[in-house]
């Protein structure tokens, strides 16, 4: 079970059971829908910016534990960050879950709680689950209105 607990960390299971910021944001100024054809995950990300800072962020959807927890922890991690920081954080998160993060690299932004997804790097087919909501967020920021697919 050693392998399993690296993937399904308690924090991930907790966020899957009780996702945070799981709501429709009525007055969102950015929103986008994402779809993972592999497992049928669907997520909608809602965003409200104040200037270039994330003022409010939420999501709705259904999917596997990895995708739901990733969406939940992402929303927690991004409130108050600038759009540039969000993009830099996605870059580092992507490196983390694909096993390409240099462990000596302590540059900002710090991944914080997002490090719980490190175990995903050992399950390449699950990378899409972990990154779906991030791809969807990026599309929302770019104000693309089409459905995002991880395919």
């Amino acid at each position: 079970m050693a392998d399993l607990s690296a993937l399904y960390q308690e924090v991930i299971l907790d966020h899957n059971r009780r996702p945070r910021n799981f709501a429709v944001l009525e007055d969102a100024d950015h929103q986008s829908e994402g779809f993972n054809a592999l497992c049928g995950d669907r997520v909608t990300v809602y965003l409200k910016l104040k200037g270039s800072v994330v003022d409010e962020i939420s999501f709705q959807g259904s999917g596997c534990a990895i995708s739901m927890a990733s969406a939940s922890i992402m929303t927690e991690s991004l409130k108050g960050r600038t759009v540039e920081e969000v993009k830099a954080l996605f870059e580092r998160f992507h490196q983390l879950v694909t096993g390409n993060l240099d462990s000596e690299d302590h540059s900002e932004p710090d991944l914080g709680k997002l490090v719980v997804f490190e175990g995903v790097s050992r399950y390449p087919v699950r990378v899409k689950c972990a990154t779906l909501t991030w791809h969807t967020l990026r599309a929302a920021l770019e104000k693309r209105n089409e459905v995002v697919s991880t395919e």
Partner: protein, 421 residues
């Protein structure tokens, strides 16, 4: 399990059950380990594993016979052509078609459906006409018809299913009308395992003058098919789901249809003569077989059919049915587990969901236990929508699976529950 076709007893010793221990030795891949655990391969509806006899047929073909077919004068070309054409006859016998020329080689079931849609379908469908499919179709038996209907201004109509996963024949009867040109339904559902009453459905469609295509991809590995008895106009299946290679598939079509259908892809082999003024086409089945085909795949498909018929499809069905009953009873005891697809007439496919656990998470945890299942929408999103599910987990069985592997699946599901409790 009741079949839409009458059992023909090929095998002399039907009463003797299969010996899975001996059979498994024919399938080298079944002895490998995954993540340090013995492999329990329960994803046969996606693709089946191959016996040594099929692997050897591919190897022997390339080691001894390889040449291009149909036109060569040299010995290898003659032998390769003979071997390939012998497979056509082998498939004819397997489906009990009237003549070998009714067997068209394609890449896959998907290509077979597209071929019929783009040739017969395109010539007979007009604006306002109707094509009927069912709610439980694989995307490959929906999308080609949807594309054709859009092109022709025709209407795609859908036979609904019951909660247990049976087609509603009363509703089907109501859908049939003089505008119905084509009915395209699956013989066995890849998600639910339901064996559909296709013989009756063909009769009903013919009563309204419609052509019927049956998707047999999930049927032929599990039950005997007699296309004359079914009286279907087209029947298709894939080699790789019936213990043969990928990249080879079969389209059966009644001779008179094949003769009157326009060609599919233009190219070599499908022509009789070519000039810039006028090209005349070859006879069926060659009219539909432009391009050098998957010759080794075809030759090895014959080896797969030999293997299966040597086991005896009736014995295979009896064994798989027993295993299905065991798996159904074991899975039903798993708390929080719900089986999707509980029709009385089923092939050995078990779709299920667990409360609070997404199928994809189940799939990963089971994989670490050596248990290979499929999770997702199984290329049948309209069916998933009907059940209000984004995905299911699916265990699909073959004659080489054992009760021990079902037990491994159940133990794996207990691990899933431990993680997600």
């Amino acid at each position: 399990m009741s079949f839409s076709t009458t059992a023909r007893n090929h095998h002399p010793c039907v009463s003797e059950g299969l010996n899975p221990g001996r059979i498994r030795r024919d399938f080298p891949i079944l002895s490998r380990k995954v993540h340090g655990k013995p492999l329990a391969y329960l994803d046969n509806a996606a693709t089946s594993q191959k016996p040594q006899q099929v692997i050897d047929a591919v190897s022997r073909y390339y080691s001894r016979t390889n040449a291009n077919i149909q036109r060569g004068v040299h010995l290898l070309s003659v032998q390769a052509t003979d071997a390939y054409e012998a497979t056509r006859e082998r498939v004819r016998k397997f489906l009990n078609a009237t003549r070998a020329e009714e067997i068209v080689f394609v890449r896959s079931t998907t290509e077979a459906v597209n071929l019929v849609a783009q040739t017969a379908g395109r010539s007979i469908l007009g604006p306002g006409d109707e094509v009927i499919v069912s709610r439980m179709e694989h995307h490959s038996n929906i999308v080609p018809w949807q594309m054709l209907c859009q092109e022709k201004g025709a209407r795609l109509r859908v036979i609904p299913v019951s909660g247990r996963g049976e087609l509603l024949l009363d509703e089907y009867e109501k859908l049939l009308n003089p505008r119905t040109r084509i009915v395209a339904v699956t013989h066995v559902s890849n998600v639910l395992g339901t064996v559909n009453p296709v013989r009756k459905m063909v009769e009903m469609a013919h009563g309204h003058g419609a052509l019927v295509l049956l998707d047999g991809a999930q049927a032929v590995p599990h039950l005997e098919v007699d296309v004359q008895e079914l009286d279907c106009d087209f029947y298709c299946f894939s080699g790789h789901k019936i213990y043969g290679p990928t990249g080879i598939g079969i389209l059966y079509g009644k001779w008179n249809h094949l003769e009157s259908m326009p060609p599919y892809q233009g190219g070599g082999e499908m022509i009789r003569s070519v000039s810039f003024e006028k090209t005349t086409y070859n006879e069926p089945p060659h009219k539909f077989e432009g391009g050098t085909p998957n010759i080794a795949g075809g030759v090895a498909l014959a080896a797969a059919l030999d293997y299966l018929e040597n086991l005896g499809l009736d014995r295979v069905a009896a064994y798989e049915n027993e295993l299905l009953e065991y798996a159904t009873s074991r899975l039903s005891q798993v708390s929080g587990l719900r089986l999707i697809g509980t029709a009385p007439s089923k092939a050995a496919v078990l779709s299920f969901v667990l409360d609070e656990v997404h199928p994809h998470d189940m799939g990963t945890i089971l994989d670490l236990e050596g248990v290979a299942i499929r999770t997702g929408h199984h290329c049948a999103q309209p069916l998933m929508d009907y059940y209000g599910l984004p995905a299911t987990a699916r265990a699909s069985l073959a004659f080489y699976n054992t009760r021990e592997e079902i037990d491994a699946l159940c133990r794996g599901l207990e691990k899933v529950m431990e993680v997600f409790e």
